[in-house]
Symmetry: C2
Subunit: 207 residues, 2 copies
């Protein structure tokens, strides 16, 4: 680590989920970060020390940062992936919040502890909620020629690419199966040399 | 409307909820906007014309914008309420995403159609989820001397102040009852002359 550069430590569980967009962005930015993975068994020991009792948490030098979207937006700015003016940043944010809509609608059903309620809720999720938001996301990606915003690579593409395995799991489908433009947006990130290098060395996890 | 200035049209239901932070921000920015309120009866006629089939939608000149957080962040930038550098914007975003966590956790229970499931879920929401996030938000507001971030007025304060009636309803409590610093953050917005002028002329609604 060069002098003067802050040390980056990312804390999360041993999964991709909310941390993977951050890991992909840090890799893209050529940031040598510590990828600290906390096991489910150890989590109770760490929970109280985390802001909001949640992860991901990204330590940047002496600053403790949290909330995956806020972290991704900040990193996006540092690496030239956040648009070049307020309108462009706005367009990225609209895409990001729509991706988040899909995730938050699905995640609450995925983590429903009552199996009967869970299956009932998946019916509506799969027949209505997911197709509606997915249609909009695919339209956005089509307008933007295989990206989520601005017709070029932005941190919204990194968010989607990082989350997609997790989103596919909680949505019980390959979300890109009939969405070639969303697939292209994801590929625009995963095909980057930095992403390939990261994926080659990253622990293999299902989500 | 002066020549050259874009026309602002905000579309939402006849409630505060997700649109009120936008209305307060537009008022603060001295923007003469059309406050278009669509009745529940008329909504099916309009739904297909809205991005994502959702509101709020803010028309800015010939641009159609959506997602309340993206809109608030953009307006915050226009009105000098978004911090003066990337770190400051980051701190605001962390507060905003934590407010959003509280809202999204509660709203899914509030709109649960099955009364029995709903009441079961409110038990955990009221005993655990809400107190945990509320504690964090009050700590943030204490550190920031009665604001949500940066120790001064930002669009995060407008978000909280605009959402609070809706949040109190879905959280089944006065969230500020034991949170003097959150109350101060809200007051920092509602006590502004522009907010007072807006509230004096705004339709009266419960949430």
């Amino acid at each position: 680590m060069a002098e003067g550069k802050p040390k980056y430590v990312l804390s999360y569980f041993n999964v991709k989920a909310l941390a993977e967009p951050i890991r992909l962005l840090l890799s893209y930015g050529n940031i040598d970060f510590e990828d600290r993975r906390i096991s489910k068994e150890d989590w109770p020991k760490f929970k109280a020390s985390m802001p909001n009792g949640q992860m991901p948490v990204l330590q940047i030098g002496n600053k403790t940062t949290f909330q995956h979207l806020a972290i991704c937006r900040y990193l996006g700015k540092q690496f030239g992936l956040a648009g070049s003016n307020d309108w462009e940043a706005f367009e990225i944010d609209m895409a990001v919040d729509t991706i988040t809509d899909l995730r938050t609608k699905a995640v609450v059903v995925f983590y429903e502890p009552n199996e009967s309620i869970k299956e009932t809720k998946y019916v509506q999720l799969l027949s209505e909620t997911i197709p509606n938001i997915l249609k909009k996301l695919e339209e956005m990606a089509a307008v933007n020629k295989g990206h989520m915003a601005l017709g070029k690579l932005t941190w919204a593409d990194f968010l989607l690419a990082g989350l997609i395995d997790y989103m596919n799991l909680i949505c019980r489908q390959d979300l890109t199966a009939n969405c070639p433009n969303l697939k292209a947006a994801i590929n625009s990130v995963t095909s980057l040399p930095a992403s390939k290098a990261w994926n080659a060395k990253a622990p293999k996890t299902d989500m």
